[in-house]
Symmetry: C2
Subunit: 225 residues, 2 copies
């Protein structure tokens, strides 16, 4: 599920072997396009560039996709089916306290299988250039912040305050991701208490912080394999 480990179908032992003269699948094209979208933006998703990345000529692209815009529509759908839904699901997860609930959200940041940060940023960047993408993104931002506000309300925050805290939590995360600080995880974990204090206005329980640290270390270890 992570970007770095996505193999071409033909190189992936877990996939049914390709038959005949098939060199790349539709999914291979889509994966290559996702990579370029993230690395270089929507405008750089070029058929010629993708074909070079895949080591094939351009022809099979036009077999699988009607046109470049067919591909970009598929890219947007891929994003839509993953990131926002995951964050909403995490917000709805049971939690013993607001701090624990926020740690569930933070799990989106830690675990690339839950939330693809670079893809999120790439789509946000794309939305700035394309009103129809922007419209879809705005709608999902509203859904996500509503889910986060509902999460705060579950822990007795006043509705108006819940909305604002939801926004601070969400948009701070977007901004932090955008800045690409690339801080080591141990550094970030050392700051979790103060982050939770700021986001909640309440002193966090040490146990919650500790459990989150354990989770993070497990995911980080697993992701680096």
């Amino acid at each position: 599920m992570t970007r770095a480990t996505r193999l071409l179908h033909r190189d992936n032992p877990d996939q049914i072997p390709l038959n005949g003269n098939i060199k790349v699948t539709r999914q291979d094209w889509l994966n290559a396009a996702l990579e370029v979208l993230i690395e270089a933006g929507e405008k750089q998703v070029k058929v010629l560039l993708l074909s070079e990345r895949l080591g094939v000529s351009r022809s099979s692209f036009y077999w699988y996709f009607k046109s470049r815009s067919d591909l970009t529509n598929a890219l947007l759908q891929t994003w839509f089916d993953t990131n926002p839904r995951q964050m909403i699901a995490q917000a709805a997860m049971p939690a013993g306290s607001i701090c624990e609930a926020i740690c569930n959200i933070h799990k989106c940041v830690v675990d690339p299988a839950l939330f693809d940060i670079p893809l999120d940023f790439a789509v946000r960047d794309w939305a700035r250039r394309d009103p129809s993408v922007q419209a879809q993104l705005s709608a999902t931002d509203r859904d996500v912040t509503a889910a986060l506000a509902a999460m705060f309300e579950r822990f007795d925050y006043d509705p108006a305050e819940a909305v604002i805290r939801a926004r601070v939590l969400y948009y701070m995360q977007l901004g932090y991701n955008a800045a690409e600080l690339n801080e080591p995880w141990e550094t970030r974990l050392a700051n979790v208490s103060n982050y939770l204090l700021t986001f909640t206005g309440r002193a966090p329980l040490p146990k919650v912080v500790e459990d989150f640290g354990i989770y993070v270390r497990a995911i980080v270890e697993e992701t680096e394999l």
Copy 2:
């Protein structure tokens, strides 16, 4: 100073009239490039496109700039000379309370003359594709968050907490800008108290909120002329 009101030299009554066969100035080219950078990203800053926007052929571009990369370097310098410096200056402004200090930062959001939000985002987007731009941006992010942390410390926040609150304040703002909610100002003003509560962990003084509202309404009125 605002993007929307930037005229070509030849259309601006406040500028010295152009003599001879000069149709556009170097600044005109640079302004056009800034607009495209913001609207469509660095890769779309194309000489042909700019020439069309300016209603001239491409030739004078190469009179004023050695190459396209000469132009993009100038674009980056324009950003560097404006946005980060303004925010640092605002953070250093005298304030009677932390809430008042944060309102000084928020003035960057309100007043396009202080801080060009779309340009900031465009540069951030560009940085994701260009390591040298990213390096410069990362350095300025560190400077800005350090200035904001110092601001929090002026009001007796523990240094570790000051750093985190500075980040939450700054990155939330980045994320909020990235999301392009385009909320009416009256809506935003209604939320200021709760934002200040979240950012500071302290109940804001009504007078501070009121003064900020007055400032905002004045700027908004002035900007819409």
